[in-house]
């Protein structure tokens, strides 16, 4: 273990080379590496086990959880059906309160808006709270590159995001960005910043982080946040956090910028009672998170806190194209991470194997939907289709059915390999013709004879190696059921 490089060094080279969220061709290869990394495996297992247990307890304690889930689904369904109207409504509400609203078609649009704002405000420090939408559009990297002249310092203030940023790493989970690291690794990274050796215990590390981050809140020219929910009727942005950084980022700096995916809208303030409960209980197993923050516009007259300027960036980035399609339900996601925690594939590989901003089942669904099938060909196949994700989803997204539809879409777009096309065409032909099916069975029984050893098929290279390399394969029975039936069993 001593010679092993810490996680953040081990992976970054690989990711830098490929670019986050660009090529995910190699889920299988990444997954293969991940399952052999015991340290990673233990960290992921620890987090997911704990989260699943907490979630189960929290939801079981809520007698009307199934009804809430149903209501959440209906509200989202209604929101998406009228999204244009709700977008207009939220924009009007925010503007009426003195905020500014910008519709960003894609990441480039959003980054340009923030960059121009930073230039106009002569900003030096941007303090950010956790936001998957800004991860999705790689806001930090793009700002640093495209607006290099401004000399901006972009400071993540969510503890996990900050550590990831320090390690030049990316979040591997929607809710627990650095769950792939253990305490020792975190201590190593923070010791690098402290210039002294910090002990690997949570209290000391948190105390150090608090001291460093506090400076950022106080010096930041712009505070940036994501949004867990945006209320159309009032223009309220709701963020839920456990660290309090969200509250500081949205109220201390003179300018507050929100980047919100357009699907985060909910129609009414009262709808929050449904979603906030579901999010906290499904995500972390809490009844409510420590902070549930509501921001409605900039600081008003006579108000004591809040930013002088407030900007709401409504990010599309491919979302509106899903409206009215068979994939629309993917937009209902509230980013609680429950589907990641219960996913047996995620539990083996962790999030980085997905090679995309969003990992786990929801990542496997929305990455190809937002970026195109070519960009994320492997992801819909990164599932055993066990359905644990759909069962866990607090808003009832049929995730594994969407994965199936995505697989089908790939086939229809001609993205499946020729070998597969041939294989399944032959499969269909054999299965449609009982005689051919019988002959194939007989041929298989003859063909397997030289391969038999101790009652199993011997490991041989070839099409079966994917199975036989790690598992014994039973031979076909000597007689088919049909033959036994004919003999009169």
């Amino acid at each position: 273990m001593e010679t092993k490089k810490p996680t953040h060094e081990r992976d970054t080279e690989d990711r830098r080379h490929e670019g986050i969220a660009s090529k995910v061709e190699g889920f299988n290869e990444r997954g293969r590496k991940a399952v052999r990394d015991r340290e990673l495996h233990d960290a992921v297992e620890h987090f997911t086990r704990k989260s699943v247990a907490a979630r189960n307890t929290a939801l079981n304690a809520l007698p009307d959880a199934p009804e809430l889930r149903e209501r959440a689904y209906r509200i989202k369904q209604e929101t998406m059906a009228n999204l244009d109207r709700y977008l207009e409504q939220v924009a009007d509400a925010v503007e009426a309160r003195g905020g500014k609203v910008f519709f960003a078609k894609d990441g480039e649009d959003a980054v340009r808006y923030v960059g121009d704002l930073a230039r106009r405000r002569n900003a030096k420090v941007i303090a950010k709270s956790k936001s998957m939408a800004t991860e999705e559009i790689e806001l930090n990297r793009r700002l640093e590159e495209d607006y290099a002249g401004l000399g901006l310092e972009i400071a993540e203030t969510d503890l996990g995001e900050w550590i990831a940023q320090l390690a030049d790493d990316h979040p591997s989970h929607i809710v627990g960005p650095i769950l792939h690291m253990n305490r020792r690794q975190v201590a190593e990274i923070l010791s690098g910043v402290a210039g002294e050796k910090l002990p690997p215990n949570a209290e000391d590390l948190a105390a150090f982080a608090r001291k460093r981050l506090r400076e950022k809140f106080l010096t930041a020219d712009i505070g940036m946040s994501g949004a867990n929910f945006g209320v159309a009727e009032t223009g309220t942005i709701c963020t839920v956090t456990n660290e309090g950084n969200g509250r500081l980022v949205t109220s201390v700096p003179p300018v507050h910028v929100v980047v919100m995916g357009i699907e985060k809208l909910i129609p009414r303030f009262s709808d929050l009672s449904v979603f906030v409960q579901l999010l906290a209980r499904s995500g972390t197993g809490q009844k409510l998170t420590v902070y549930t923050n509501f921001v409605t516009g900039p600081r008003g007259e006579g108000e004591l806190d809040g930013a002088e300027e407030m900007h709401l960036i409504l990010l599309d980035n491919g979302r509106s194209e899903l409206l009215g399609t068979e994939f629309e339900e993917a937009l209902y996601c509230i980013r609680c991470g429950a589907c990641l925690n219960v996913c047996p594939v995620y539990r083996q590989t962790g999030g980085h194997a997905y090679g995309s901003t969003y990992s786990g089942p929801i990542g496997a669904v929305i990455t190809p939907l937002l970026k195109g099938n070519e960009e994320a060909k492997d992801l819909p196949h990164a599932s055993s289709l066990c359905g644990a994700c759909s069962e866990a989803c607090p808003v009832g997204i049929p995730l594994h059915d969407l994965l199936l539809k995505l697989r089908n879409q790939q086939v229809e777009e001609g993205l499946a390999s020729n070998a597969q096309e041939l294989a399944f065409k032959s499969f269909e032909n054999a299965m449609k013709r009982p005689t051919l099916y019988r002959i194939s069975g007989k041929a298989g029984r003859v063909a397997q004879k030289p391969l038999l050893r101790d009652g199993s098929i011997r490991p041989v290279p070839g099409p079966l190696s994917g199975w036989i390399d790690s598992r014994d394969l039973p031979p076909l029975a000597e007689k088919s059921f049909r033959e036994l039936w004919k003999e009169g069993i």
Partner: protein, 224 residues
């Protein structure tokens, strides 16, 4: 077959049946799966019967749940598949809920863990039936095991497409199985069992692996 007959069920086996088409469906080849499904529908529609009994939660779910799914836009076939789907019953569901049988009067010596296949668990919701049947098997001690809701990692073509991850998933199940102290693994799905047994054998375990029907069949010589 023997169990059903013993319980007074008249069994017919349409000889032209092949596969339900799930391998193609799971891989996204819906057209090919529809081709196989049409064959299935026509073979079974030729026969007169009350129920289709299927010794696999996975195949049952394909017929009852996913045939209507792939024929969603094709009204005539959707109706046909729905009509057929209503008559498909997974083996343990059929015994317990249709025949009302919970005790087969059989014996098996062993400490067993039962694996509920994912389709059986989530699409069909058949959780208690196999356990009820097994709890009445004399000599069989049914054990609880950790994370029993987790998928075994088979997942059809997933097992071959992503063998390392699939195998790691099997290893997690096997770890839980070891911890439970079971000497026998039982399931209602042969495909999960083929995967788990293959891995058990490869890793030098001598766990006995049986389909539920094998345990419930007292004539089956090798069991017990």
């Amino acid at each position: 077959m023997r169990i059903l007959r013993r319980l007074g069920v008249e069994v017919i086996y349409p000889e032209d049946q092949t596969c339900c088409g799930q391998p193609a469906f799971n891989s996204g080849f819906f057209d090919e799966a529809r081709g196989v499904a049409r064959h299935f529908l026509s073979v079974f529609e030729r026969e007169r019967f009350d129920y289709i009994v299927c010794p696999s939660g996975s195949c049952t779910a394909m017929l009852s749940h996913y045939y209507p799914f792939i024929f969603k836009e094709m009204l005539e076939e959707r109706e046909r598949s729905e009509a057929l789907g209503h008559r498909v019953r997974e083996f343990s569901d059929f015994l317990v809920n249709v025949l009302g049988v919970k005790d087969l009067g059989v014996r098996y010596e062993g400490r067993a863990a039962f694996h509920t296949g994912c389709h059986q668990r989530r699409e069909l919701g058949i959780l208690e039936e196999p356990r009820e049947l097994l709890s009445n098997v004399e000599g069989l001690e049914l054990l609880e095991w950790e994370n029993d809701e987790l998928c075994c990692g088979f997942g059809g073509t997933f097992a071959v497409k992503m063998p390392d991850i699939s195998t790691a998933m099997a290893d997690e199940k096997i770890k839980a199985l070891e911890k439970s102290g079971a000497d026998t693994l039982i399931s209602g799905d042969s495909s999960c069992l083929m995967h788990l047994e293959g891995r058990l054998k490869r890793t030098g375990h001598d766990t006995r692996v049986y389909h539920l029907a094998q345990i419930l069949d007292s004539d089956e010589g090798k069991v017990g």
